[in-house]
């Protein structure tokens, strides 16, 4: 029996000013998680990429044009008020996706999933992918598949798990040695691969972790919007569609205002109110 000494809340922050869009995170994820590939992957609607790098531009013409690459794993939403009612978890009729209260990770159990795809409709981040076909590897290539992640079958939904199997391995090791797991013991495959060091992963609940120090999450609900909890107290840090109250555990960081503004759809005048508003300045937790 594995006993959890402390409740974790794993999350990441991506420095968009460092990301070069090289794609190492995407491939590291595919290789780590036995994600299959098809002959034609140029139709991105049916191309399964747990981690997907989006390209954003500021819409200005050359030479004022600026590009930003935005890596998007599953956001591991805590749901309204951060109570664990993630949009996808709330709608799953099969309990195939669930919220881990000990880790903050949203799971996906392939053998329970019967492919209704409600979760895909509920996810505001397009982080979930449906297997329209059975995976097929060229002859012999199954040999590189990892036993830590089960290959999926036709008719089920899959998504990023924050490399949960890596957490399990680290947790087992820590348990054997009767200690807490260390920050660097559990890192996702995308984080370790990033050559630019743009991704920082760790426990948002642990003030010693780098991710906590960068994000400085506000443990109190946002006074302007009680659905939102864990808002960053770092003015450069934001979350995608933050005002929905999905409370993602993936944060983004940029020095540039247009990039931070691109994290949500603002009506005229709304951004002016939001941009100066960050989590409370007092330092709890």
């Amino acid at each position: 029996m594995i006993e959890n000494k402390k409740v974790h809340k794993f999350g990441m922050v991506v420095d968009l000013d460092k990301c070069t869009g090289c794609g190492a995170c995407m491939v590291s994820c595919m290789s780590e998680n036995n994600v299959p590939f098809k002959e034609d992957e140029s139709n991105k609607k049916d191309s399964i990429t747990w981690m997907r790098v989006y390209k954003l531009t500021n819409g200005k013409s050359f030479p004022e044009t600026e590009i930003v690459y935005l890596p998007r794993p599953c956001q591991h939403c805590g749901g309204i008020g951060d109570h664990g009612h993630s949009p996808c978890v709330s709608v799953c009729p099969a309990t195939a996706t669930d919220y881990g209260y000990d880790t903050g990770i949203v799971s996906q159990i392939y053998t329970r999933c019967f492919g209704c795809r409600y979760c895909m409709g509920a996810c505001p981040y397009h982080a979930r992918y449906f297997n329209w076909w059975d995976p097929k590897w060229p002859k012999g290539m199954e040999n590189y598949l990892s036993p830590n992640v089960s290959p999926r079958m036709r008719g089920v939904v899959e998504k990023c798990s924050f490399c949960y199997h890596r957490y399990q391995l680290a947790r087992e090791q820590a348990m054997i040695e009767d200690r807490e797991i260390e920050e660097m013991e559990y890192q996702t495959a995308c984080t370790t691969a990033c050559p630019a060091g743009a991704i920082v992963f760790g426990d948002l609940n642990n003030p010693a972790h780098k991710v906590h120090q960068i994000v400085k999450p506000d443990p109190h609900p946002d006074p302007m919007n009680h659905k939102v909890v864990g808002k960053s107290r770092n003015p450069k840090v934001f979350r995608l569609l933050e005002r929905l109250g999905t409370n993602p555990k993936v944060y983004y960081m940029s020095d540039r205002e247009w990039v931070r503004k691109a994290g949500d759809n603002y009506l005229k005048g709304e951004w002016e109110n939001v941009k100066t508003h960050h989590g409370a300045s007092s330092s709890h937790g």
Partner: protein, 706 residues
């Protein structure tokens, strides 16, 4: 028995009770739920003990350290190796997908012999004796110099071994595919001295002036360069990118200087002219510089800011300001090599950029450019030269570069046999059709390829090579890195197919040939050879996995010889006619040169680069005419025609069409080949006099709606 109402009801109720109580229903439901939860066709990867092994990736010249995770000895994942002096834990997408190359559908599984139009499987013994016999005939006919060799890289023991074979055989005809490394070596030879290379200390520079170098998109050692860029902010180092489009590197830069493609050299010379005119830089022949006065006179006359503005499109005032900013920085460095810096480069441009470094006093300074000595860790014993070898060795080389060789072969032949190792010229050189025609003029082609690529398809015999995950090899860094690190690539897995280490194949072949060649290759195996020739560093190399030969600025300031630049080398103008200039665009997610992308890498490619079977070309909407975003159009150049998809991009200079490089492969791997167009098909080589380089970076093109 009469069935009355009573017994009917009794039986009915009994049956109902029976069915309800019977375990059959429950069992059937249970079974059906179990059976519908079985997916026997879905693989169940075998579990086991997790171990990690260290090696070096040799897919590109980056020479990154890798860590291979294994389950019961079976490799399942490749990651960057922590604390490695080159990549310090980072990895690129191509290296991470390394395992896909192991089981690639296009891998060559056994030795093959061409019979008519088809390949026939043969054994290794047959293959070796067949090649030995053919080569023996060439030697007997007293024309050993008619054996040619085309290789990918020219450092490390494997390329030395191939050169050794050529030497012992008696042929000087060894050619290297164009690479950043070879271009830098040419530059060093032209303006410093032969047998040196250039390394750019990006990690310590505070002002990087890149002449189109795709520093975060695969230039040099890709991971090291991305890391150097990522640390810029903390170091307060500036990056200024000279470019004709908003590449990712230009986007990451603090400032973009937009130039007409192909005029980068003129801009560099313009900056040199400003430095000489406006600063205290002496035109005296300090440090033994050669022809500096003549160079200064040429700059004063031909490269005034106004004249350079007319050529490059950069404003004269901006040129002056940039030159002053460059010279005033603490540790500035100018970096040459458009895109990845391999194909379509001119020595004039490399030399002009290096002259800028020289004038600014940045040679062998921290954060500048290092004029580096060769790694020098290999000690091969003297070749045993027999009579045939002596005879052939005295002959002149057929051509000065691989491009000139192709030209020569296509026109009037000249080689009776050709070895191809670690190169895919029938894809990677400009105008591959001409390369193919040139190949057809060679009677007997032996390929040491691991994959049935465009060039292997045209060979007569294939001695299939084990890939980097299956073999032992020294991998030496280069590619513009300001340090020399030798890494040890180790076999992570037994060869999956009936392939051999190309070193072993070469040793077997040499021994089968007898005479001086056999004596020059008297090793029992490549492993024994490697251990012997790397004796000086072998212990550290095999214990630590790498040896840092040098990571400090070389001592002293080398002399600069401006003769080449003073000779006013001709500018390579894009050939042909048309309203547009077509240029290749190097992308990090698409492998370039002779390396093919993996299925994973192709999967990550955006639909604004590859859409179905179409390459998407970048074009500025202001010069697109009647064409709309997403239209299918016909792109025509003097070399060929291709159907492409139009992709509007405000970040490209008007009048320029950018086409992704690395697509349009034509061989049997449906995951990576048959997608898009090979941009090299549309560009004809323009050989630069004096260097033999193919300097055609772009070509004139026309575009019309399909």
């Amino acid at each position: 028995m009469k069935i009355d109402r009573r017994s009917f009801l009794g039986l009915g109720l009994g049956a109902a009770a029976g069915i309800a109580l019977s375990p059959v229903g429950v069992k059937l439901t249970d079974d059906s739920s179990i059976w519908t939860q079985n997916w026997p066709w879905t693989p169940v990867p075998e579990d086991g003990e997790i171990t990690y092994d260290r090696s070096v990736c040799s897919l590109c010249p980056g020479a990154c350290g890798i860590s291979v995770r294994k389950i019961n000895g079976r490799p399942v994942k490749i990651e960057g190796l922590d604390d490695h002096p080159i990549n310090n834990g980072g990895a690129c997408l191509h290296g991470i997908s390394g395992l896909q190359y192991l089981y690639d559908p296009a891998r060559i599984k056994t030795p093959l012999k061409k019979n008519g139009n088809k390949f026939e499987k043969i054994s290794w013994d047959e293959a070796i004796s067949l090649v030995a016999q053919k080569l023996g005939e060439i030697r007997e006919s007293d024309t050993p110099e008619s054996l040619g060799l085309i290789t990918g890289a020219d450092n490390g023991s494997m390329s030395r071994l191939f050169e050794r074979f050529m030497g012992a055989f008696g042929s000087p005809n060894t050619y290297t595919m164009p690479s950043l490394e070879s271009n830098l070596a040419l530059t060093a030879a032209a303006i410093h001295s032969a047998d040196r290379s250039l390394g750019f200390d990006l990690d310590h520079s505070d002002f990087i002036l890149s002449f189109g170098a795709a520093i975060i998109e695969g230039w040099g050692s890709p991971v090291a360069c991305i890391q150097a860029n990522a640390s810029r902010r903390e170091r307060k180092a500036k990056l200024v990118q000279v470019d004709y489009r908003l590449s990712n590197t230009a986007n990451a830069a603090d400032k973009i200087i937009a130039v007409k493609p192909g005029t980068e050299a003129d801009l560099a010379l313009g900056l040199c002219a400003v430095l000489l005119a406006k600063t205290q830089i002496s035109t005296n022949t300090l440090y033994g510089d050669v022809n500096k006065l003549a160079f200064a006179a040429m700059l004063e006359k031909e490269y005034t800011p106004d004249k350079v503005e007319a050529i490059t499109g950069v404003k004269a005032a901006d040129i002056e300001a940039l030159a002053m900013e460059f010279i005033k920085a603490k540790a500035p460095v100018a970096v040459p090599g458009k895109g990845r810096g391999d194909v379509g480069q001119s020595l004039r441009e490399f030399a002009a950029v290096q002259a800028l470094n020289a004038l600014a006093g940045r040679l062998n300074k921290e954060g500048g450019v290092f004029v580096m000595w060769p790694a020098g860790y290999l000690n091969f014993p003297e070749n045993v030269m027999d009579a045939a070898a002596e005879q052939g060795a005295g002959k002149a080389k057929l051509a000065g570069s691989v491009n000139e060789l192709v030209d020569k072969l296509e026109k009037d032949g000249g080689l009776s046999a050709l070895f191809i190792y670690n190169a895919n010229p029938c894809y990677a050189l400009n105008n591959p059709e001409k390369v193919k025609a040139a190949m057809d003029k060679v009677g007997f082609k032996v390929s040491f390829s691991s994959f049935m690529d465009e060039t292997a398809l045209r060979s007569d015999v294939i001695l299939p090579a084990s890939i980097f995950l299956e073999r032992l090899e020294d991998v030496v860094s280069g590619a513009g890195l300001a340090k020399t690190v030798v890494g040890l690539c180790r076999p992570m897995v037994k060869p999956v197919f009936d392939t051999k280490h190309p070193g072993d194949a070469l040793i077997l072949l040499a021994q089968a040939m007898g005479a001086g060649i056999a004596q020059s290759f008297s090793w029992e195996s490549y492993e024994a050879c490697l251990e012997e020739v790397t004796e000086k560093i072998w212990d550290t190399l095999s214990d630590d996995g790498y040896v840092v030969i040098d990571d400090k600025p070389p001592v002293g300031t080398p002399a600069t010889d401006f003769t080449f630049l003073v000779s006013a080398p001709k500018v390579a103008v894009p050939m042909g006619e048309g309203d547009y200039t077509l240029v290749p665009v190097d992308k990090m997610r698409l492998a370039g040169g002779s390396m093919t992308s993996s299925p994973f890498a192709v999967k990550t490619v955006s639909d604004t680069v590859l859409s179905g079977k179409y390459s998407v070309v970048e074009i500025n909407p202001t010069t697109a005419g009647v064409l709309k975003d997403g239209d299918i159009a016909v792109l025509k150049t003097a070399m060929g025609t291709a159907k492409v998809k139009i992709g509007f991009n405000e970040g490209i200079l008007p009048g320029v069409i950018g086409m992704p490089r690395g697509l349009g492969h034509a061989f049997n791997n449906p995951y990576v080949a048959g997608k898009g167009v090979n941009v090299n098909d549309l560009i004809g080589p323009v050989i630069e006099p004096g260097s033999g380089l193919d300097a055609a970076f772009g070509i004139k093109a026309s575009l019309s709606k399909a």
